[in-house]
Symmetry: C2
Subunit: 364 residues, 2 copies
């Protein structure tokens, strides 16, 4: 029998075994849940801390069948899961957020059409299926602009900048000639993200807005609260709520937005929806009453959502590659909360951990 | 080679697999440590969340040898480990806190003599080796008083109340005729505990003082900060520091004290030292920058100690036996942080979890 609302002791299947899966499993243990990681990599960092794990390819139907049989609900820590895998699992047990959400957020074009369809502003964009369409899109949107594959891009992968002198045919080929979209380059004052949660009963909560800095297309830091007015913060949360409700979303989601200066005042353009816990919400582990990881599990298990109250201002710094060797320096800093992901090799660009600085007041 | 100061990636052996071992293992994962649980019970709740575990009797030398070989440092989550086990492990790898600390705190008489020897007040006590000694002790200390076995008592086990009409021979036999001590019954205003940590380099930090309520000899709740003056709080922390320094202590310890009203003003009598993370420090998981579990690991690994700053007032409630069935009610409460230990059976008197209420201010 499939229960909609679960209880402590429930078995939560998590597809993906990276640091997000690891932090979900750690949060699950606090709530007395048994987390079962499904990953295709035997050295994934979530395995060490989860009650159970299955290591098999994401399209291995036998392994997936055993996995789904052993859990009460399924969630995921990354959105590039094959659609067929999500549907296969959803035929047996609740998958939250739903496979429909996954399908939508896996395709940049479908996602942008969906967001625009809600009356929410996004950066100008155009569909690009071939080099000819790219030329037309550039004529419409202008340069500089960014060509992105519709599917499977992350951390700057699958992107090409279209500058003044760029050869369009070469740019299109550099992404493998895949179906893509061209996005207008938006000069923004800052990038913010709303990390929010929607419960099984439709409750919606959003933490304080984070202000993000990216370096080399990878999130470097998140400062909370963002340097924006209370009115803008409320507008940002409203957009996230509208999106979550339209998707009948269950779980934690992050909505990335650009803050731009328009003639009529500041404008928020939605850039991307992440249908999962998000790097820009890591500060909640130490800086808020309920962490995004626990909140996600509360939502997908049908538990009441927890308080999102922040203890005070916070700043989260990602530890990328060699940054991890500064661990002792961070541990010695007043108010620093260090998290390391247990990855054996510190490759350049690899997220090895993060540190959250909790400040007594914004001047600290 | 034995390293005094370790680094993330180190392997931490934890003797004992109960909820304290579980919360230590979860805190270890955050720091990128690999926790290895050694327990004699295969269904212990720490096993599910630890990177490794060994299940064998506490005096199984082969299993202990394999365990100590596989770790870089050893600690423990309960103090009733056989002394020989601790010494066997300490011959191979650092055991922190030291086996000497363990030996001292395992014997109520030795512990009280040690504390008194530091010039720190304790309740009146006397050594009781036989029924005759009990009669002399009662003549000296009076009734009501409490007879306690010197070793292996916890949560009220191994205790007998000596009332006006109690037959002393019967009382002594009720504890199995073991070497005991008689303690004077102290009328106290409240019971407080100092949860503190001492690092490998001798740094000492103490969280805000907790005020404890016991029911049926088991901790029911801890309120932080305790309702005591700043001066008394400072005196309580000083006593804990004196004890930690005299023991050359490494790790987290708890010092339980009675607050009594004397003729010269309030007095603090030390009741007990717990050489480990302590139930009255659970609030630090949600209510302070650094939790007692992370702090203990920082100390025993030779890392810098973390900030003990509290986010605000907090109250921790133990969930004992059937209390666990109230989980949904607690999850729905504003500012409540629920922790369940993953124990399968809710037996009466069994600690099943705890909930910490974080208040925005003391009036909440």
């Amino acid at each position: 029998m499939v229960e909609e609302k679960l209880a402590p002791g429930a078995r939560v299947g998590i597809v993906g075994g990276g640091q997000l899966g690891r932090m979900l499993a750690l949060a699950g243990a606090r709530l007395g849940l048994y987390c079962h990681i499904y990953t295709d990599r035997s050295d994934d960092p979530a395995i060490d801390v989860a009650a159970c794990s299955s290591v098999a390819p994401y399209d291995d139907q036998d392994a997936l069948a055993r996995f789904v049989d052993a859990v009460d609900v399924v969630t995921y820590e990354f959105e590039n899961i094959p659609a067929q895998t999500a549907e296969f699992l959803a035929a047996q047990k609740p998958v939250r957020p739903s496979p429909q959400v996954l399908a939508l957020t896996q395709d940049r074009l479908v996602e942008k059409n969906f967001i625009s369809g809600l009356g929410i502003e996004v950066a100008p964009y155009a569909q690009v299926d071939d080099a000819g369409a790219l030329a037309r899109a550039v004529a419409q949107i202008g340069r500089p602009s960014i060509l992105k594959t519709r599917r499977f891009g992350y951390d700057g992968k699958g992107q090409a900048l279209i500058r003044l002198g760029s050869d369009l045919a070469t740019s299109f080929r550099s992404l493998g000639g895949q179906p893509s979209i061209l996005e207008g380059f938006v000069p923004f004052r800052c990038e913010v993200s709303v990390v929010a949660a929607r419960g099984l009963d439709g409750d919606f909560v959003a933490w304080d807005i984070g202000q993000n800095v990216h370096e080399h297309h990878i999130l470097a830091s998140t400062k909370v609260p963002a340097d924006i007015s209370a009115d803008l913060a409320a507008r940002a949360k409203d957009k996230a709520r509208k999106i979550a409700e339209a998707l009948d979303y269950v779980g934690v989601l992050a909505v990335e937005m650009f803050l731009t200066e328009g003639r009529g005042g500041p404008r928020l353009l939605v850039n991307e929806i992440a249908p999962r816990v998000h790097n820009s919400g890591h500060w909640t582990m130490d800086g808020a009453v309920t962490s995004q990881f626990e909140q996600h599990l509360r939502a997908i298990c049908g538990f009441p959502l927890g308080s999102v109250r922040a203890h005070g201002p916070a700043e989260m710094l990602n530890l990328i590659g060699d940054d991890i060797y500064r661990w002792r320096e961070f541990l010695a800093q007043k108010g620093a909360c260090l998290h390391l992901y247990g990855k054996s090799e510190a490759r350049p660009g690899r997220k090895m951990g993060h540190v959250t600085f909790l400040k007594e007041n914004a001047q600290d």
